[in-house]
Symmetry: C2
Subunit: 341 residues, 2 copies
């Protein structure tokens, strides 16, 4: 398998990315290939630092340009064909000679999405791709799709996300018969926009999907669903809010402990550490852009070495489990005629 990694993406690039790539060498197969995309000198220096010389599982794809985190995605991809993100996606594209099976970037999310959509295109039958994040809640893992690739989805996009989220939850997250729900302002039938109601009706009509109806914000963290479908705006706000709020709460509690009962600090710190370890967003390495023709994993901007190693392992798993084949087959059985394009 050929796995491409954007060496220049993320707040801790290039060091953490190279560390993570090297860290995966003992966990990938002898015939696997890591294709590191970035400036040759940076990559060679990083490999040398790790004492990795002439490992024939490593290839370098030279990229002389970088897309910054705050650049306008589509524009940057078009104007910087030699950026690590554009080259990475192109190397996984249909025009590539020996296309990459997996691409991974912790860089500009919008640019990675735009590049993947431009070069890799969509799986047959898929109308829009979506980013699926595994949220480690206290009631178990929840797959949230989409968190920002598609900010104005049509009802049929949301319905397809249900199928894609379901397959991802089964094959990668290991959830049997996932309960799939549609994000809304309340659980009642009459709630929501006309688009939401149409999406709900489409989801109900899909056979072999355990669709449970609407879900509201409160219930996402209490285990009422395994897959939550939403538009890219709501999903994006949800994961960022959850991240900011969790951090804020842990900080506030720690501050109070220090101020009121410093003798408790060490023991309390150990408990916080344990909870963090059990709800580790690094575990999945990143979020796949499901629906593209290939495997594209978008890692968090603050990825550390371990995140990238995990993204590589999960990317391999994504290919080996045949997620895309399953998506294609399931979508082919859906009555798309009834879904206005």
């Amino acid at each position: 398998m050929r796995i491409g990694v954007d060496v220049m993406g993320g707040d801790n690039a290039p060091d953490a990315i190279l560390d993570g790539a090297v860290g995966s060498l003992e966990r990938i197969a002898p015939h696997d290939r890591l294709v590191l995309v970035g400036p040759r000198d940076v990559i060679e220096a990083g490999l040398k630092r790790h004492g990795v010389n002439n490992d024939d599982r490593i290839e370098i794809l030279e990229a002389t340009d970088v897309i910054a985190m705050d650049e306008s995605p589509a524009e940057a991809v078009r104007s910087k064909p030699n950026s690590s993100i554009a080259l990475l996606a192109a190397a996984a594209g249909r025009k590539a000679a020996n296309p990459l099976d997996v691409v991974i970037s912790a860089g500009n999310t919008g640019a990675m999405v735009a590049a993947a959509q431009m070069y890799m295109r969509r799986l047959p039958g898929v109308r829009r791709s979506g980013i699926a994040v595994v949220v480690p809640t206290f009631a178990g893992n929840v797959v949230l799709i989409d968190v920002g690739a598609n900010i104005e989805p049509k009802p049929d996009h949301l319905a397809q996300y249900g199928v894609m989220g379901d397959i991802y939850a089964r094959k990668i997250v290991g959830i049997e018969n996932p309960r799939v729900a549609l994000m809304n302002v309340g659980g009642e039938e009459q709630k929501g926009t006309a688009d939401m109601k149409q999406a709900r009706d489409m989801l109900r009509s899909i056979s072999d999907l355990n669709f449970t109806g609407y879900i509201e914000g409160r219930a996402v963290f209490s285990g009422e669903a395994d897959v939550v479908i939403t538009d890219g705006v709501v999903g994006n706000v949800m994961i960022k809010l959850a991240e900011g709020l969790s951090e804020g709460i842990f900080k506030a509690i720690t501050r109070e402990v220090m101020a009121n009962d410093p003798s408790m600090a060490e023991r309390f710190g150990a408990i916080v550490k344990k909870i963090y370890a059990e709800h580790d967003y690094h575990e999945y390495g990143g979020a796949p852009l499901i629906g593209v023709n290939g495997v594209c994993i978008i890692s968090h901007g603050s990825s550390v070495a371990r995140t990238i190693t995990n993204a590589i392992i999960r990317g391999k798993q994504f290919v080996e489990c045949g997620v895309n084949k399953a998506v294609e087959e399931r979508l082919a059985t859906m009555n798309l005629q009834e879904m206005p394009a």
Copy 2:
């Protein structure tokens, strides 16, 4: 001042509502009037329980019907004109002989919104009303508008929410020169839907508004803005998610403390209590539906007596501070001609 309270609304109705109303008696003025809306026998029994007899500040408005929490709002308001919510809103409406200055309900939010819109109508110049919630973050209070009254706002609605949220933050929450931001999937200029961009441009053009641009989910809890404008779907998901997640985190930490270090439990419990007290969503008693011609406060379904007492005090403050007059005046100076209706 005449303040109407829906005795039958909320999970703890009627007892907590009556307790809260009675609890406000020592804090309202001799000439204020509480109008309790619900079944006469229930109200009289509740007052008797508190030893309140013939207090001439209390009036009873008999309501023989109730709208349940899960009923379809608009339909319920239409089909149940004798419900406490419909009668409450009607008593504050323009056709009422001696209209209520404030109405408060912890019942079906959608029904209260629909009833207020139907009977109280809008302030001159207001295109849509919005629910403004004060979120007690670790970085201070943040006003979030709208959290569910308007699930498909147009750009001009969002722009008006900016003005209404600003006035509410200044006059009720006591924030000087509030920083007003628009919720989006990222802070960069090119992010978001066409509607968001149009709303942003409108907000920029409003003089005397400290509009700071887009804000993303993470930043809401880190103190980057005092007023956050959003559509009703995103806002609704945000507050419910924040509520569910905070509860989940505190529960998880408490569980871990009990499992790993039970000797710490009591002291840790005291710290949690202190944090809760400092971030008390009961403090504001509820969220005003700003923009209606009158004062309508929507309290949380799980309101306790203290919540209702606070809603009564805040409702009075809302009238006394002249929030509505300020909204009307500020909107009149906005160039609405440039905002497509």
